[in-house]
Symmetry: C2
Subunit: 209 residues, 2 copies
């Protein structure tokens, strides 16, 4: 069972020309997305091997681009924001062989980049049966959901939520709106809460299997 | 009802002479504590006004020192790690009038510093009735706890856990060990999960009041 988190940055830059000295001010709030990477992928003493994070970067002259970080293969991911920013900056600046739109090209193990938008993510999901969720403030409480006992994909908006086209595309997928409690949280905290619920469900399944 | 999070950094520096270019490598992993500040204090579009965070800094030549960030009064707290590091660096570098050990001196609204260790935090709690918790991997599940309907203080270790003296002091307080699920998480994620549970309990109380 794989968990996928798709974080959509409406202004987050797809170009490497941002400053590490002012990440929020020069990268279209890429810092929000970096914190989502940490929350989804990193746990004490390691990585969530069952988790893939997609960063959909819709800002800047190189947009749209998607970065894919696969917890099963990626190494040398540190939790501090500057290290994550450097990782992404290098991934965005790397010259890659030409590829079709929406096709992921591997940069190093566990790290790949596609030219494309949300469609690149959907193409990457392939024909696998996945259950889609979208984090929404007024969604049904994650604790009350019959979370799928199979691959899940969770769509996460940035600090601006979703643009109308993206929202329509996610709705077309039949994604279930899921909420995480009474207070509106930052995207990374929302991911943490969802991961905790998924961890608990899996532990319960394994204990009763 | 006030929530207090006491984050204890065994090596986290109490001096301002760390480098923003390598926070993990030069600050005794102050980055871990900064992420705890974000998780405890910041929500979408604002701060948790009912939350106070103490950073107990036990590393470097100026140790021990405690920084206190009070969500009710503090302003201009941004979520990115570099901004939080700058805030802490300035707070540690500021010349302050002499004060007794364990006494907090205000730096600016919502931000204060004490010379001292855990005792400074305990003195600051004063005679108020508080219920103490300590985050432990093998603690009782936070969801199963009859969480106090009054002021709470939650002790949080860094990436090294607690040193024996600190652990003994926390045990003396009668702190209840609390766990947050089947997977060992980073301290900031653990705080996020605890905050989410406290938010839910409060919402339930308010709905039935």
């Amino acid at each position: 069972m794989t968990r996928r988190f798709v974080v959509i940055g409406q202004q987050a830059t797809a170009s490497p020309d941002f400053s590490l000295l002012d990440l929020p001010g020069t990268s279209g709030r890429l810092d929000v997305l970096l914190r989502c990477v940490r929350a989804a992928l990193l746990v004490s003493h390691g990585l969530r091997r069952d988790t893939i994070v997609y960063l959909v970067l819709q800002g800047g002259p190189d947009a749209p681009r998607v970065l894919r970080l696969d917890g099963n293969d990626i190494r040398f991911v540190r939790p501090d924001e500057r290290s994550l920013a450097l990782l992404v900056q290098k991934a965005l600046g790397r010259e890659l062989p030409p590829a079709e739109r929406n096709a992921f090209v591997t940069i190093r193990p566990g790290l790949a980049r596609a030219t494309g938008d949300l469609e690149a993510v959907l193409a990457d999901l392939g024909p696998h049966a996945v259950t889609a969720y979208v984090l929404e403030e007024d969604g049904r409480d994650v604790r009350a959901l019959a979370l799928a006992d199979r691959d899940v994909v969770v769509f996460v908006g940035d600090n601006h939520g979703f643009d109308p086209a993206t929202r329509a595309r996610i709705e077309l997928l039949g994604a279930t709106a899921v909420g995480i409690g009474p207070i509106s949280l930052h995207a990374d905290d929302a991911i943490t809460v969802v991961c905790n619920e998924l961890d608990r469900r899996r532990a319960t399944r394994e204990a009763t299997a």
